[in-house]
């Protein structure tokens, strides 16, 4: 911990001691020390121990619907190519040519093969090296030895989950207990993204994440939006889930949607009708470290936070509706449905703006020399659990 002690020396308190306060029971614990939100050293620990080790969502299967469709994604320093191959499998490759390390592609598109722009090495969509011009005279060179480096990938409920740690255990068993809360009843695997958001925020990724899993802020931050339908007392947290790499809180608003009235405007997923009362409404699932899913009876909203240095993060969100509705929206022949969709997007825009603004404002405060660890209320138990998980993974 020498580097950490050096880092926080200016604040004259050992980081370890501060962490000890976090590890107390929630209502006795202190929040994460402020330096956890801006220290480059601690950020690097999070990257190494969390983002390079845990399962990260990099999108939805509909992001790459056809063979050859690809998108690129960055997890810290690692650029990834997410591609649907010619055998209809989604693959994730590190975006690094095996010749001399050049990034191979940028952005997104459709391609029959990947060709490095530097010296023309060509790879199949599955990552196998298919063409290495002028290498026939290179000794002991076999193209089979130089495929793109692939990452572990799993599809879960339509989400593309990636793990950069080749030793990582599978993702699905880690979240199988979510079934207890009926997550599969929301029909996410049949949902298709119809609108996407991308923000580069001036805050630490944990600040936005904590904000998303505590309802304490709602009456003050969401005065214009959620407060009308989402009073603080309507949320049920499940703090007894202590041994899982995920958390859930459920807004007790049966039939909630993102419409102006709160009533669903898209077809309701029938399987949600017989959910247990405490599980019914608007669950927010967070799979550590940075993926969140907000279910409602007619839509799925999901988000992924990816750090971009200690002071910035990328927030990507999607609004997904049932496939049939998505197809109708794509056809553009149902003005009423189109209007409903625009209404949902507008409302989500509004509460996102509130959350983004407050997270950036919090970060500016955290950068102050006078920022100190605070405390948790009973409405912030999941934020405490999340912080504890981060601390155990990255700082211990």
């Amino acid at each position: 911990m020498a580097s950490v002690a050096k880092l926080v020396g200016a604040q004259e308190v050992e980081f370890d001691a501060r962490l000890a306060d976090l590890k107390k029971p929630a209502l006795e614990a202190a929040t994460l020390p402020p330096e956890a939100y801006w220290s480059p050293e601690l950020y690097q620990r999070e990257i190494d121990a969390i983002f390079f080790k845990e399962w990260i969502c990099v999108g939805r299967v509909e992001d790459v619907p056809n063979a050859g469709d690809f998108v690129t994604h960055e997890i810290a320093t690692e650029s990834l190519i997410i591609v649907r191959d010619h055998e209809d499998q989604i693959c994730v490759h590190h975006n690094v040519c095996r010749h001399r390390g050049c990034q191979i592609v940028e952005g997104s598109g459709n391609t029959p093969a990947f060709k490095c722009p530097y010296h023309g090495w060509m790879y199949g969509l599955g990552g196998d090296l298919r063409g290495a011009p002028e290498f026939r005279h290179t000794e002991n060179f076999d193209k089979k030895d130089y495929p793109l480096i692939s990452a572990q990938v799993e599809i879960w409920e339509g989400f593309i989950m990636v793990n950069l740690d080749p030793e990582a255990t599978p993702f699905a068993p880690r979240v199988s207990e979510m079934s207890r809360f009926g997550i599969e009843r929301y029909g996410m695997s049949n949902h298709v993204t119809t609108h996407r958001w991308h923000f580069r925020l001036n805050c630490n990724w944990k600040e936005w994440m904590e904000n998303s899993i505590e309802e304490y802020h709602i009456p003050w931050v969401h005065t214009e939006t959620f407060q009308a339908v989402s009073p603080m007392k309507g949320w049920v947290e499940f703090p007894d889930i202590t041994d899982q790499p995920w958390i859930v809180m459920v807004g007790q608003f049966p039939g909630f949607s993102y419409s102006d009235t709160g009533d669903p405007l898209f077809p309701v997923t029938p399987e949600t009708a017989d959910l247990a009362p405490e599980h019914s409404g608007m669950p927010i699932w967070v799979s550590y470290p940075s993926m969140g899913v907000l279910n409602s009876v007619d839509t799925t909203v999901y988000y992924v936070l990816l750090p971009d240095g200690p002071d910035h993060c990328h927030l990507r969100l999607g609004l997904a509706v049932a496939k049939e509705s998505a197809e109708a929206l794509a056809r553009g022949d149902d003005p009423a449905l189109q209007a409903s969709h625009e209404e949902y997007v507008r409302n989500i825009d509004s509460f996102l703006a509130e959350d983004n603004k407050i997270s950036e404002q919090q970060h500016r405060g955290m950068r102050s020399r006078h920022a100190k660890p605070g405390r948790f209320s009973k409405h912030e138990i999941l934020a405490w659990k999340f912080d504890t998980w981060v601390a155990e993974r990255a700082y211990s």
């Binding site: 010619h86 459709n110 093969a113 060509m122 199949g124 063409g131 011009p133």
Partner: protein
């Protein structure tokens, strides 16, 4: 046994890899004519999907659906062709040849390479040039037993002539196929550089029906060679007809032999060992006998279409005659003979 009708079908990735830098630099221009094909196990094909050239514009739909046609099923003597033989597994081909008792393969480009004729001629030349270099590399596994028929474009005669001169230096290069276009009249001197290069190098022309415009039937081309005095002007030029069977030959030879105004005597060219025809799997025994009578038995070659032999042809009577054709193949492939 020499088999003058065998194929490789390198993927576009292999073609790309073997191309000259200028060709690779224009790779993106190829994409509209590329499709993804699904391999068929046991046919000598690869086991994973790969890119193949088509003669029609396909992109982007074909790339998305991965719906390229599969290769025709093979019928080899062993009943199974090892993975990759048709692309990059030359060792597997040699093993298949051993199993079938075949000494030499003359390797031609499969239709997926010939499809380049649908491109602009300079791009097609780029594909054929890359293919030729790839095929030579493929034959490095055994340049004595594996022979290359260079694939050239008749719309780029100057390039074709240079290609013949340059690549004829390679020991495995044994013949030349020209994609003869429909656009050039038979009496045109445009082809002269090509015939001259063949004359100089001693390489024979292997005229493949699937590689040229359909107007260039064996009978038509032979007539052209006669009346344009190609045989006369290039006395070393030899031609073998492939992918057409041999049933056409007796009538054509007999007809040409009767034309008293012809500038040469076709039978003299046959007797001089300048005209060959390849017996294929679909020829029946009677056709083979008639061709042998008219051309003389020494003018018959054998081609199996390995590894694309159509089902049902394994017992073709002509194949039973194939061992007799062995020495003729050697003679055809011997430069300057």
């Amino acid at each position: 046994m020499v088999d003058v009708g065998t194929y490789v079908a390198p993927s576009m990735e292999l073609i790309y890899e073997s191309g000259v830098p200028d060709f690779r630099g224009h790779w993106d221009r190829m994409l509209p004519w590329v499709e993804v094909t699904h391999p068929r196990p046991g046919t000598g094909d690869w086991e994973a999907p790969y890119l193949r050239l088509t003669g029609r514009r396909t992109w982007p739909a074909a790339l998305g659906r991965a719906g390229g046609e599969q290769l025709d099923p093979p019928l080899s003597n062993s009943g199974h062709v090892a993975s990759g033989v048709v692309q990059d597994n030359a060792r597997g081909r040699l093993a298949a040849m051993d199993a079938a008792g075949v000494e030499r393969h003359l390797i031609n480009a499969a239709p997926s390479v010939g499809a380049a004729r649908g491109l602009a001629s300079n791009m097609a030349a780029g594909v054929f040039g890359a293919y030729n270099r790839y095929a030579i590399h493929y034959c490095d596994a055994d340049p004595v037993r594996l022979k290359v028929a260079l694939q050239l474009h008749g719309l780029e005669p100057q390039w074709a002539a240079e290609e013949i001169r340059e690549l004829s230096q390679e020991a495995c290069v044994a013949a030349v196929s020209i994609a003869l276009p429909v656009k050039i009249a038979p009496e045109s001197s445009a082809f002269a550089p090509i015939w001259q290069a063949l004359e100089e190098t001693g390489l024979p022309l292997l005229h493949r029906a699937s590689f040229s415009s359909p107007v260039w039937t064996p009978r038509y081309l032979l007539t052209y060679f006669m009346f344009a005095q190609v045989f006369e002007r290039y006395p070393g030029l030899r031609i073998g007809f492939a992918e057409s069977g041999v049933a056409w030959a007796p009538g054509a030879i007999e007809h040409l032999d009767r034309l008293i105004d012809a500038p040469g005597r076709v039978r003299e060219y046959v007797d001089a060992g300048r005209i060959f025809a390849a017996v294929g799997p679909t020829d029946d025994a009677a056709s083979v006998e008639r061709a042998a009578d008219e051309l003389g038995p020494d003018a018959l070659l054998w081609e199996s279409y390995f590894p694309f032999v159509p089902l049902g042809c394994a017992e073709a009577p002509a194949l039973r005659r194939a061992p007799e054709l062995e020495r003729h193949g050697d003679r055809f492939l011997a430069r300057g003979s």
